[in-house]
């Protein structure tokens, strides 16, 4: 189970992601769904709850950087 497998996974925002905030996304991984602390991958992006995001970067143990999966 390599760490690289996290990158590129799709997840859903459960706590708003944005500058100055610690967001939360839930991602299907290892046969279950786990939540990770999330930060925006690009600048001053604000991603509301419920938005589908893609994991751009994974920083072990529990931090990911995400960006919206679809353009608005």
């Amino acid at each position: 189970m390599g760490d690289a497998s996290m990158v590129g996974l799709m997840g859903r925002v459960t706590g708003t992601v944005g500058p100055g905030l610690v967001g939360e996304v839930i991602v299907r991984v290892r046969g279950g769904a786990e939540h990770f602390l999330a930060y925006p991958a690009q600048g001053a992006e604000r991603i509301e709850s419920g938005t589908v995001v893609m994991v751009v970067e994974y920083l072990p143990p529990r931090t990911v950087y995400v960006s919206p999966a679809y353009d608005s």
Binding site: M1, G15, T16, L21, V22, G23, E24, R30, G32, E34, H35, L37, S49, P60, P61, R62, T63
Partner: protein, 493 residues
């Protein structure tokens, strides 16, 4: 031989049992909620980078060399920690917060490794450690929030929790599943006061709604009652109508028998009446024949006879009347002629008488005239003489009243004596006891009364002289005074 076989079989069984036991000692299986942390072997490190020095097995079995490698279990179960923290909110309101933190060891190997290194021997103390971490962090979290936020804005609370504790817990290899605030003790009553207007409004709305509901319910109930009453009334009316019809029919049925009876009786009566009428008619006709006709005949006979009789009488009377009339006429003629003859005679006689009487009358008249003239002369002479006498008497009266009175008395003496004798006039049979003397005495007394009267008259006159006017009222004199009274007008003359 069988002994040998038994021993061999037993040895084999023992060997198998030994092998199974050995395998059981070497083969360890990780249960779904735990991670095996195996240390002591440099080899067969999988899934971990260099430098860790132990391997982590989750969800499967692995061979472990007893005595060479050590196997420890790390529970991945959920843990919870009760929090009792005194905090101050963003507004400076002191609160006592009671909550619970639910956390677990992260499922990835990095988290398991971090947690294994920190808590492997202190898994029971993990809650305490986390409590200590969170007690501080919760203060900062609550300090960043207002009471309203804590009550209403869960998103903000979890966001703050993540911001404050997320990275902290990451270091420990733990993840926070949830932070729950169970109870906020509020010594200043801030929350209660906060809720009061809303509670009052809610109560008001509830009461309004309740009252409205009651009203609607009562309305519906009353409508229902009214409908029930209406239905009852309709039903009773219908029942009464049907009952009336039934009674009517029953009465009719009961009356049918008597009615038929009465009808039959009526027929009988009608027929009987008819019979009676016929009989009456027959009897009437019979009577007509038997009684009336003979009676009529008789009456007719009588009437005819009476009329004839009457006519006869009338004729007789008429005849008599005619006879009388004729007789009267004859008598009248005769009398008239007699009367005219008599009248002629009388007239002739009267004329002769009249001329005789006229001659006599003329002679008598002349005689009477002469006699009257003579009388008149005589009367005039007498009147003059009387007048002279009265004048002389008046003069005499003026001179001597007593003489006049005496003269008057003397003139009227016979009258007085008559009046005195009148007392004896009514005596029917007088017995005089003294003989002739008695009679003369009696008469003397009676006459003395006249003398006494004279005395009285004299006295009266004297008193009249003294006090001039003596009323001509009653005086005790009887029958003497009225002539005296008559004198008074004469004297005044």
């Amino acid at each position: 031989m069988p002994m040998f076989v038994g021993v061999v079989a037993g040895a084999a069984v023992a060997a198998v049992a030994f092998l199974i036991g050995l395998f059981k000692m070497m083969w360890r299986v990780a249960e779904p909620n735990e991670a095996l942390i195996i240390s002591g072997s440099k080899h067969r490190t999988e899934g971990l980078e260099e430098g860790m020095g132990f391997r982590i097995v989750t969800g499967r079995g692995t061979m472990v060399l007893p005595g060479v490698q050590a196997v420890r279990k790390l529970s991945l179960d959920l843990n919870e920690t009760e929090l009792h923290v005194d905090c101050v909110t963003h507004q400076g309101i002191p609160l006592k917060v009671r909550g619970v933190v639910i956390f677990k060891v992260g499922d990835d190997f990095v988290s398991i490794a971090n947690a294994g290194r920190r808590f492997l021997d202190q898994q029971r103390l993990m809650s305490e450690r986390v409590h200590n971490v969170f007690a501080g962090h919760l203060r900062s979290i609550v300090g960043g929030l207002t009471v309203e936020d804590m009550i209403r804005d869960r998103e903000k609370l979890t966001g703050q929790t993540r911001a404050a504790c997320g990275t902290e817990m990451e270091k420990l290899g733990l993840i926070v599943d949830s932070l729950q605030i169970h109870e906020i003790e509020d010594p200043t009553g801030y929350i209660q006061n906060l809720a009061m207007p809303h509670a009052a409004a809610v109560q008001r709305d509830a009461r309004i709604a309740q009252a409205e509901a009651n009203r609607l319910a009562t309305e519906a109930e009353q409508q229902s009652f009214a409908r029930m009453a209406e239905a009852t009334r309709d039903s009773e009316i219908l029942q009464a109508g049907y009952q009336a019809e039934r009674d009517h029919a029953a009465a009719k049925a009961r009356q049918a028998g008597p009615l038929a009876d009465a009808g039959a009786r009526q027929e009988v009566v009608v027929q009987e009446t008819r019979v009676a009428e016929l009989e009456a008619q027959r009897r009437e006709q019979q009577l007509q024949v038997d009684v009336r006709k003979p009676a009529d005949a008789q009456a007719y006979e009588k009437r005819t006879l009476a009329e004839a009789d009457r006519d006869a009488r009338i004729s007789a009377a008429e005849a008599r009347a005619r006879e009388t009339e004729l007789a009267a006429a004859a008598e009248a003629t005769r009398v008239k002629q007699a009367a005219s003859a008599e009248a002629e005679a009388t007239r002739t006689r009267g004329e002769a008488g009249a001329s005789a009487t006229r001659a006599t009358g003329e002679a008598e008249a002349a005689a009477a005239q002469a006699k009257g003239l003579a009388n008149a002369e005589a009367t005039r002479a007498r009147g003059l003489a009387e007048a002279e006498a009265i004048k002389a008497r008046a003069a005499a009266l003026a001179e001597n009243q007593e003489a006049v009175v005496a003269q008057q008395l003397a003139e009227n003496w016979p009258e007085i004596v008559r009046a005195g004798a009148s007392a004896f006039g009514s005596v029917d049979n007088m017995v005089v006891l003294n003989g002739a003397d008695g009679v003369s005495e009696l008469l003397a007394k009676a006459l003395t009364m006249g003398g006494t009267g004279l005395g009285l008259a004299r006295k009266l006159l004297a008193s009249m002289d003294q006090n001039e006017p003596v009323p001509n009222g009653t005086s005790p004199l009887n029958g003497v005074v009225p002539p005296a009274v008559e004198k008074i007008p004469v004297r005044e003359d």
